[in-house]
């Protein structure tokens, strides 16, 4: 999704590397760099909280009425709601309350389930981690492999075919691919289940349970893997091609290294760096994919939860999910930055 945005993100990451290098030369140490990165992640998270606060509490003309969702209220009831939620307080006090509650893990009560939002989100967390984690690992490994093979033998049949397929996958709405697979494999051929995570009445225990889970996981996992694989292999391919003309590859060949060695030991490690940045920065888009794919396959994770909250509408859950998604992406960005510092000596000590 949105190649231009990703290119922007990559440009930002590269620029960040440059800025760091400048800061490091200025006499500041590695520790200070880390401090700046962690600090800026915290500031970003803080602005997510501010945004959340304003969007859900201040933007609606009358939050109390919003909470009551259109039912007529007496003045006493209104006053009671205002008092319970602290809506009569001045804005800074409300914001402070909101911060304190959020950091205590109290994200409000779900309109739909009538239990705490953190509890609702907690129960949906594991399915999403399973789905997103599996497909990220698969798409990374396969995508990088295709990218290396295509980029190294540029213009070969393999390269042309894989690039054409990747470009098509890149232009494809993930949920559409999901629906097509669902109809073909579940509705017509009955090979895979129509959705969900377990069979009715539970999938059994032990090995049978795991089998049942994997059987349900296959289709949504294939969808997410295919969609993100395209992107990773395109990036890996173009960053490997960027390295092809480098002098150090000529040196390696002049030393008499075999082609496979030149590729494995010299070209690929350098070309991997942008891909690592991209894979971490891409978590935001993986989340988008998880929302739609989980909806199509009724996979009971955070994505389906957001979709249901969106249509109910269950504002506290929506708000909590947004906070969690943002925090996850901010953390991933931070990890990508730190990882790059470890992996790339040019960033570490430039």
């Amino acid at each position: 999704m949105a190649g231009a945005m990703l290119e922007g993100a990559l440009a930002a990451a590269q620029e960040l590397r440059g800025e760091e290098a400048g800061a490091a030369r200025g006499g500041a140490g590695l520790a200070r760099n880390l401090g700046i990165k962690i600090g800026s992640a915290i500031v970003t998270l803080f602005f997510v909280l501010v945004f959340n606060f304003f969007l859900f509490r201040v933007l609606p003309a009358d939050p109390a009425r919003n909470l009551a969702r259109g039912t007529t209220l007496t003045a006493t009831q209104m006053a009671a709601i205002n008092k319970t939620y602290g809506l009569g307080l001045p804005l800074p006090a409300q914001f402070w309350n909101y911060l304190v509650q959020t950091f205590h893990g109290n994200l409000g009560i779900s309109f739909e389930y009538h239990i705490g939002v953190s509890q609702v989100i907690g129960s949906a967390l594991w399915p999403t981690i399973l789905l997103v984690g599996t497909s990220t690992v698969l798409s990374t490994v396969i995508g990088v492999w295709i990218g290396i093979r295509g980029g190294w033998n540029r213009g070969s049949t393999f390269d042309k075919t894989s690039t054409a397929i990747n470009n098509t996958l890149y232009a494809m709405p993930d949920f559409w691919l999901g629906m097509v697979l669902l109809i073909v494999f579940a509705s017509k051929w009955f090979i895979f289940p129509e959705g969900g995570m377990h069979s009715f009445g539970g999938g059994g225990t032990g090995l049978a349970g795991i089998n049942d889970l994997l059987w349900h996981l296959t289709l949504p996992c294939i969808v997410l893997t295919l969609v993100y694989l395209a992107e990773y292999s395109l990036v890996m391919r173009s960053s490997l091609i960027d390295e092809l003309g480098s002098d150090y590859l000529l040196t390696a060949r002049a030393k008499g290294l075999r082609d496979a060695m030149v590729r494995r030991r010299h070209a690929v490690p350098n070309a991997l760096l942008p891909s690592i940045t991209l894979i971490m920065l891409n978590l935001g888009f993986v989340i988008s994919g998880a929302i739609t794919t989980e909806t199509v396959f009724s996979w009971p994770g955070l994505g389906l939860l957001s979709y249901n909250a969106l249509n109910f509408p269950d504002y506290p859950v929506l708000e909590g999910a947004f906070l969690l998604f943002s925090a996850a992406v901010i953390a991933a960005n931070l990890i990508a930055d730190l990882l790059l510092t470890v992996l790339d000596p040019r960033v570490r000590q430039a």
Partner: protein, 317 residues
């Protein structure tokens, strides 16, 4: 034949040579050169032809299919049926022709794609140019404005797009304008980054120093010198962004955040998903998806071809 001056070519020496005229001549030549290079790119030409056809279909929608076919209360065809004489791509769950919906949907999808991209480009270009321009000023104010703008950009870059768009669209209510605004204000940060980098490079050129020495104000420098120089990059970026915004629109409409009265391709997929497409006309699901892929690929091919012309280093890819 009247006066001889009409037929005889006017001597070039008579026409006044103004700065504006020179500039336009130069631009026309640059455009011709661009087109000569672009024409060599086979993928780019395929993309261009596809886009021209798609836009022609969208513009000619009233000629190709009556908009009465979109009205559920006037639908008389069988429900969720396969292809027939009056409905070559079958019908949907309300008995409307899928082909009619597809033709009219192209208008909404392209309209939202272009409008959201325009909004995103304006925000991205303004922020990128302003940050790049004031960032190079050697003053506290300049550095701080660059810092603040880039921090805002980073924020939008980091916060996940779809959850942000969902909460915005949900709280603002489903309508065409809201969708355009939501996509526009969530998709500009990449552009702002690219434009700022380009603006920083432009700012160091001697002609800007000359303009400053002659007393040009900030507005003049940014609008007359920086903007024309980042324009080609901005245009290539625009085309690529349209591909992204059309996909974003599809996703938001699929999740039920679109305008139900003006159905786009995403809205069609939403209907198909919620009204049992699996049991009937498969073309109802397949055709909008294929249309999206074709349009998005068209924009991507054209955008990449433009980039390759502007940046020869990319041509090797």
């Amino acid at each position: 034949m009247s006066a001889p001056t009409d037929t005889a070519p006017r001597p070039p020496a008579v026409t006044s040579v103004t700065a504006r005229r020179i500039a336009w001549d130069r631009r026309r030549r640059a455009l011709a050169r661009f087109w000569r290079e672009y024409r060599k790119d086979r993928d780019g030409m395929i993309g261009l032809v596809v886009l021209v056809l798609m836009i022609a279909v969208a513009l000619a929608a009233p000629l190709l299919a009556s908009s009465r076919g979109l009205n559920v209360t006037l639908a008389t065809y069988p429900v969720n049926a396969g292809p027939g004489w009056h409905y070559p791509l079958g019908t949907d769950a309300d008995g409307r022709s899928v082909l009619t919906e597809l033709i009219w949907g192209s208008r909404i999808s392209l309209l939202i794609g272009f409008a959201a991209t325009l909004l995103s480009m304006v925000i991205g270009a303004v922020i990128g140019i302003v940050a790049g321009h004031f960032g190079t000023l050697n003053s506290w104010f300049g550095r701080q404005s660059d810092n603040v703008l880039m921090r805002v950009t980073d924020w939008f870059l980091v916060v996940p797009f779809l959850p942000l768009a969902i909460v915005l669209a949900r709280t603002l209510g489903p309508s065409l304008h809201v969708i355009i605004i939501v996509i526009g204000i969530t998709s500009w940060p990449g552009t702002a980054r690219i434009i700022r980098a380009q603006a920083l490079a432009v700012e160091t050129r001697p002609y800007l120093e000359r303009a400053r020495a002659l007393g040009a104000g900030h507005w003049h420098q940014m609008s007359k010198h920086v903007l024309p120089n980042v324009m080609p990059l901005l245009l290539a970026n625009t085309i690529l962004t349209v591909a992204g915004t059309i996909l974003s629109e599809t996703t938001l409409s699929f999740l039920g955040l679109g305008d139900p009265t003006r159905a786009s391709w995403g809205e069609m997929l939403n209907n198909a998903f919620n009204n049992g497409v699996g049991t009937g006309n498969a073309l109802w699901l397949i055709t909008p998806g294929v249309a999206i892929i074709v349009v998005v690929m068209g924009f991507t091919l054209v955008g990449h071809a433009m980039e390759a012309v502007l940046n020869p280093r990319l041509r090797e890819r």
